[in-house]
């Protein structure tokens, strides 16, 4: 699905991501972990195209993404959520999902005029399903800015899903959530896997990553220091050192 080959991104002298190789298979939930500042969010921004690469190649379903602008990458099937939630605060919950309907399927099915100038009646049902999934059906007319923190996170996830992604990039979706909310998020991610989604999960909350990921890569100072199954990662001495600062035994 997604392949990064020797991907680097330098900011001046800082090597935020340095020679990273990753390969995410179809239907996989791939965890990307690492200490603060290790290059996880930068990696997400490189895949979605917000930053250009310093060097290297990113292939999505075999296609080189170099020079493909951000909005076209979504058309190819790459959607994301943000670490610091970025909703359209002055639009309603419902409208936040409405404006995200930009997938090629939606373009084809609805046609130009109906998609842009049509009213809200035709798409109520589809968006209703997403709202159910996110547990926000009762808040659909609320302004997004007025939602509670956890609700905003759920809305952002629903907004990414409204674009019908093939690959979903979740940038620290559990940040700031309490234990109960993390549990619900876990259920949602697992149910997405049940529908065949491929997910790149960038996360700090270990319980979540270890519980849902098929495979995990660990970054430190922009470089991959380990990759493997959750169990293998937990046992890896280099990983323990990076996280705990302890001696590698």
């Amino acid at each position: 699905m997604l392949e990064l080959k020797q991907v680097s991104r330098h900011f001046g002298g800082v090597r935020a991501v340095d020679g990273l190789d990753l390969k995410i298979g179809d239907g996989q939930i791939f965890g990307l972990i690492g200490p603060n500042g290790s290059g996880k969010s930068t990696t997400v921004n490189l895949v979605t195209g917000l930053f250009p690469l310093t060097s290297g190649t990113i292939l999505f379903r075999g296609q080189d993404l170099a020079g493909v602008p951000v909005h076209r990458r979504l058309g190819l099937g790459i959607a994301r959520t943000f670490q610091n939630i970025r909703l359209f605060g002055h639009l309603s919950v419902w409208q936040n999902l409405w404006v995200a309907q930009n997938s090629p399927e939606d373009r084809e099915r609805r046609g130009f005029v109906a998609r842009w100038l049509g009213g809200s009646a035709g798409v109520r049902g589809e968006i209703g399903e997403l709202l159910e999934f996110a547990g926000l059906a009762h808040k659909q007319d609320e302004l997004a800015a007025n939602l509670a923190f956890g609700e905003q996170r759920r809305l952002e996830l629903a907004r990414a899903l409204a674009t019908r992604p093939k690959l979903l990039l979740l940038d620290e979706p559990a940040a700031g959530m309490n234990v109960e909310e993390v549990g619900q998020l876990r259920e949602r991610i697992l149910s997405l896997r049940g529908r065949g989604a491929t997910i790149l999960l960038v996360e700090h909350v270990m319980e979540l990553v270890m519980g849902v990921a098929d495979r995990i890569a660990v970054l430190n100072f922009g470089q991959k220091i380990a990759e493997g199954t959750p169990a293998a990662i937990q046992a890896d001495p280099l990983v323990r050192k990076a996280y705990l600062g302890g001696e590698a035994k």
């Binding site: 994301r80 909703l87 639009l91």
Partner: protein, 300 residues
């Protein structure tokens, strides 16, 4: 009575000017180019009726079309820059248009006199309405039919998905492109629609004043254009109308008895209005109250 008809004409044309900036402002872009599109529409429509003898409606349509084409052409390079840089770029364009018309001569002899734009002298004798026997009332009604139609169209745009996308871009460009919105297409389309509205407004302006010159399209006009939607608020097109009525009807005409003190008060009252109603004269809450008053259901 003609005084009030004349005032209604000014309010109508300035509403179009404000609406042309409103749709661009929805995408978060502050444009000082609207007076330029207004000038293009004014000269184009005036030349078509005076020099070529076109009827008013196709001349206005051509003015709007030309305004849209120019806005689209300006939009592509200008909208690559943001914030203060965009303000400067659009200001430069507006002044460029004004200076173009300052130097633009194209006169032909018609009925023994020379007609057409004459540089700094301006473009006189745009006499379509008086020649065809329209009264001030009829001109005023004609203007307001067009203003109402354009407002209705924009109101409908605003409620469509296109309107929601414009507002999404205005709020957060990074998030907007991350959900697949093509920023350039959205901003340039808003600029183009704004150019068309300003062009039609300019055409109407040229015909009801019968005399235009480069100073009719100076920086002050550009500032008014962007001030209307800001003072009125972006909750709906009616905010812009409210602001035009407030500024043109109350501040400029209503306070005329104050003489020279008016200009001082003018600025102070705008500051006061913005402080009392930071989200505009007609903000979302005021609109909700109006809607409840008419018993309309809350829209989603």
């Amino acid at each position: 009575m003609d005084f009030y008809y004349g005032l209604a004409q000014i309010i109508g044309v300035h509403t179009l000017l404000g609406l042309s900036a409103y749709i661009v402002l929805l995408t978060g872009q502050v444009s000082l180019a609207q007076a330029g599109f207004f000038a293009v529409g004014a000269y184009a429509a005036g030349m078509l009726t005076v020099l070529l003898g076109w009827p008013i409606v196709p001349a206005l349509a051509a003015g709007g079309l030309l305004g849209a084409i120019v806005a689209c052409a300006v939009g592509f390079p200008a909208l690559r820059v943001r914030g203060l840089m965009l303000v400067i770029a659009t200001l430069a364009f507006g002044e460029g248009v004004r200076l173009f018309f300052f130097n633009f001569d194209y006169q032909i002899a018609r009925g023994g006199i020379k007609v057409g734009p004459l540089g700094g002298e301006g473009f006189r004798q745009i006499r379509y309405f008086p020649e065809n026997g329209w009264t001030t009332l009829e001109v005023m009604l004609f203007i307001w039919v067009l203003v109402a139609a354009i407002m209705a169209l924009l109101w409908w745009f605003d409620r469509s998905r296109y309107g929601a996308v414009l507002r999404a871009v205005g709020e957060d460009e990074v998030a907007a492109q991350s959900v697949g919105i093509n920023l350039t297409a959205v901003k340039v389309s808003a600029m183009t629609i704004g150019g068309a509205i300003a062009g039609v407004g300019g055409g109407l302006y040229a015909h009801y004043t019968t005399h235009i010159e480069h100073t009719s399209f100076n920086i002050l006009v550009a500032t008014f254009a962007i001030a209307y939607p800001i003072v009125g608020g972006l909750a709906s097109v009616f905010g812009t109308l409210a602001a035009v009525v407030f500024v043109q009807g109350f501040l400029i005409e209503g306070l005329r008895f104050l003489g020279d003190w008016r200009n001082l008060l003018f600025g102070a009252l705008i500051v006061l209005a913005m402080n009392l109603r930071p989200h505009g004269l007609l903000d979302a809450r005021a609109l909700a109250r109006v809607r409840r008053l008419f018993g309309a259901p809350r829209d989603a």
